[in-house]
Amino acid sequence: MPDFGYTITKDRQLDHDHGDFRYISLVRSFEPSLDLCIGCGSCSASCSAAGFTDFNIRKLHTIIRRGEVESVKTELKKCMFCGKCQLVCPRGVNLRNLIMAMNRAIELLG
């Protein structure tokens, strides 16, 4: 390929026709408190793992809601299960169980 000096950027438009929404359905059934989330980001701000890695729990459940699960599979392994996110959550979302629920959904659906 000739070197044009620039490249084509991958489109980041969300296309709900191509998303896989089986995962979020399962996660919701395993941990219904997810629906209480207001997306404030306190979980990510207090995250111990985020101090050492680029782990971002709010981003994770946003991604899984969008039906994009590929990046979630590797990201989940970075959680240290310290539970600080759960302590600071103003809506009482059971975030440790949410991580477990995501893991279980991935185990079941592949």
């Binding site: 000739p2 044009f4 000096g5 620039y6 490249t7 084509i8 950027t9 489109d11 438009q13």
Partner: protein, 355 residues
């Protein structure tokens, strides 16, 4: 395309377009991009008996510099005032621009002066001090595609060909693409408004083609000035065009029709670049989707020689379109100049089918 709702919108955006006696200003870039387009406009206007005057001492409107954050608005307004002065000196009142960005800038300047008369007075002083010229504002400002839209029936009546497949009789499936500066800044200044501009749709319908609606129809072509002028930014430009191509491909368009300097350039050239980068082509059987301007299309339907229109400098070969409409052409003359000398032949692309 479902047109019921669009017709209601189109009815709200009817603009007055002068019928004759035009002062024409060229684009600074189109003559390099598509060298036959402006000449073709002047040719069919003359054949239709219209008076079009152009003054060779007119300059760029400076819009390209203005939208690249290089030329300040005051300078741009003074440049525009000088063009109006040339029109005034020639005795014309109907101003017609070849370029969409010029049209947008002229509209912006006139609107600014309408709301802030003190700025107009200041610019008049600037122009007088710099050039000694004075001007009268145009009575009618139109883009050349507006004028062609107004004359679409006359062009159709005088035409040798229709925008239909001459073998099957099916209408040619056309994607229309309107330059952003045509009516997005001032919807009332464009035929049909900003959401569903009618200017090219009207030509396609009148000339026998079928307009294709597709999800990214109103997406920018990707030119965007700063996105292209800095080489490192061109990824933005080509990605925007690719988004449009990916969106239109399932609808199998046979032609892209444009009315802007940048849009035909990038919708044409980027098809080549994408094919070289990814091996993707968007037409049938490894072909691209031919891209033409409304002047070139009018010229083709009027029976002008495709090589006189400059179609050989398009990156995506137009021969598949010519074959479908049944327009004869001589492949041997494709790369010959007026004197019959070879202009040199470009290197064949790796993936895009070349003729």
């Amino acid at each position: 395309m479902k047109v019921e709702g669009k017709r209601l919108i189109w009815n709200d955006y009817q603009k007055e377009i002068a019928g004759d006696n035009y002062f024409y200003v060229r684009s600074c870039v189109r003559q390099n991009f598509f060298p036959g387009a402006e000449k073709t406009f002047l040719r069919y206007m003359k054949e239709l008996g219209k008076d079009v005057f152009e003054n060779p001492s007119h300059t760029t409107c400076s819009g390209i510099g203005y939208h690249s954050d290089i030329v300040p608005f005051e300078t741009a307004m003074t440049m525009v005032a000088r063009q109006f002065a040339l029109m005034t000196e020639a005795g014309y009142r109907n101003f017609v621009t070849s370029c969409i960005t010029s049209f947008g800038l002229y509209s912006e300047v006139l609107e600014t002066w309408h709301h802030f008369p003190e700025i107009e007075e200041k610019i008049r002083v600037h122009l007088k001090n710099a050039t000694g010229r004075e001007f009268v504002k145009p009575e009618n400002l139109a883009h050349a595609s507006d004028v062609t839209f107004k004359l679409r029936k006359e062009i159709s009546d005088a035409g040798k060909y229709r925008l239909v497949n001459h073998v099957t009789g099916a209408p040619i499936r056309v994607v229309e693409h309107i330059g952003c500066h045509y009516s997005r800044m001032f919807p009332s200044k464009g035929v049909g408004g900003a959401e569903y501009p009618y200017v090219l749709v009207g030509m396609i319908e009148e000339w026998g083609g079928e307009v294709i609606d597709y999800p990214e129809r109103r997406h920018c072509c990707g030119f965007g000035f700063r996105q292209y002028l800095v080489k490192a930014n061109r990824g933005y430009s080509i990605s925007a065009s690719k988004k449009k191509f990916d969106s239109m491909k399932p609808y199998k368009p046979e032609l892209i029709l444009t009315n802007c300097p940048g849009c035909p350039m990038f919708l044409d050239r980027w098809q080549y670049a994408i094919s070289e980068m990814e091996g993707t082509t968007y037409g049938e059987g490894g072909q691209g989707i031919p891209v033409v301007t409304y002047e070139e299309l009018a010229g083709l339907l009027l029976g002008y020689d495709p090589w006189d229109l400059g179609l050989q400098v398009h990156q995506v070969p137009v021969e598949p379109l010519l074959d479908k409409i049944g327009i004869p052409y001589d492949p041997e003359k494709k790369f010959l100049d007026k004197e019959g000398n070879s202009m040199g032949q470009p290197k064949s692309p790796t993936h895009l089918k070349f003729y």
